[in-house]
Symmetry: C2
Subunit: 304 residues, 2 copies
Amino acid sequence: MSVPFGDDVSAIDIGSGKLVVIKTDMLVDKTDMPLQMSLWQAARKAVVMNVSDLAAKGVKPTALLTSIGVPRGLRKRDIEQIGEGLNTGAREYDAYILGGDSSEASDLVISCAAFGIGEKKRLMLRSGAKPGDIVAVTGPFGKTAAGLKTLLQNLSAPIRMKKTLVDSVLMPRARLNEGLTLAESGAVTASIDSSDGLAWSLHEISKASHAGFLIDSLPIAEEAKQLAKLHKLNPIELCLYGGEEYELVVTVKPRLWKKVVKKVSLIRIGRVTKEKTLILKVGKKTFPIEARGWEHFKTSLPKL
Amino acid sequence: MSVPFGDDVSAIDIGSGKLVVIKTDMLVDKTDMPLQMSLWQAARKAVVMNVSDLAAKGVKPTALLTSIGVPRGLRKRDIEQIGEGLNTGAREYDAYILGGDSSEASDLVISCAAFGIGEKKRLMLRSGAKPGDIVAVTGPFGKTAAGLKTLLQNLSAPIRMKKTLVDSVLMPRARLNEGLTLAESGAVTASIDSSDGLAWSLHEISKASHAGFLIDSLPIAEEAKQLAKLHKLNPIELCLYGGEEYELVVTVKPRLWKKVVKKVSLIRIGRVTKEKTLILKVGKKTFPIEARGWEHFKTSLPKL
């Protein structure tokens, strides 16, 4: 098998050093869709979720198939919105929707399967992190956790800040260009997307690579810090234990670091350690990074 | 695009005359799963549904991905049953389950995506039927419609007959070997699987091929005839307007007919006509074949 079971994607070897790389994931309204998210946004997000996993492996999605569970109450206009959201999502990443099916269901279920052709030797797995490698991310963390709290608890915030936070939930973006450039660079030893949160993603790389992490520079988003201050939230909690964030978390060969950051904007957050522990260092204090992530908001939201 | 939109499968051209052929379809318990169907059988069926579409195009499935919506009430043992059903289904067709995801949902939703590598020139589309071609099927029709009626209305029937009918619903089989041999033969001008019923499948080929059909020999399954007799049902109705039957419906070049039936067991049911009408001939009388198919049994079954 070209890709170990449990990595972000699956792959079929088609010879000549090439792989068909595949990912499928489903969005279910009651667990993945806050009330404020439109059908168009939900459909677009279902695409982004799958594209993000290919991005983390450095593979361009060629096309997507969709399979949709449609609750009885939806009207023709609703279905069109879903179709438009799917197409918009696909076009943002230069892919397209190849086809799909729909069935009646109690929930709105949008299942996508994304496909791309990848080069076997360029594929970025979860399993190659080596002690001494630099740990980096493609962007700051905490906005979606803060944004979801803002939506669910209707937290007050200055309008521009609120918009940034809420947009991060409703209009997530996959880091495809970054993933492709990182794969091309040959500098990355392990990669994962952060859809289950930063802490969880680090634990996944740790498990697959048999190594640990010392994180000494948490990439907390400015807006998350501000919201935390306003509402007495813990910014570290927002940063580490959020989810649906779609940044890439990578480990990089130190000797290629300078070269790669000229091409991709990366934030250094720590380094890979031989000890298989995940440690956060703040000032002189250290804390364990727990293997927990995103908690679905199913209990706090009424059913659509 | 190598495969027209709306055909059974989608495809990505990967060069050298080869295609990645893909199909995704979802099984939803409340519409696709009679109460008597076990979780193991439902999962196996979700695989068969997708394999059947590849079979109709003459493409061997290499692997499947699954995406499962899991209702809260399911226990660990239930999930294992689903996993075993998926694996059994895949192994029956020499394919395997590559990976997948699960989410919480109100219904049990089993979405599969099946993939295979096909030769572009061998792919059997819906669109090539020519006037004069022979229309044929890989097996008799009516057993699943009769079987479902037996299950839903608890119809009485001799035990062996009942078992055959009910098994056709609970343990469907995809005609993969037949599809592969037919594609290899070069004799087939159009092909479709009959998951939406014989009448519907004929209408789909008619639409895609811009041709009609004269069906003069309905392939009614013996057991369907017998059940119809016992319970005053219409055997033609059972044969034409059932569904979930997974036989292949094909059109064949007349000059290659004798050669192809030496390799694949085919039942001749009529011929392709220039007039774009679908006519059933019984004795000297003719009847239109309507564009209707399978009606889901959602209204007659309680929710799982």
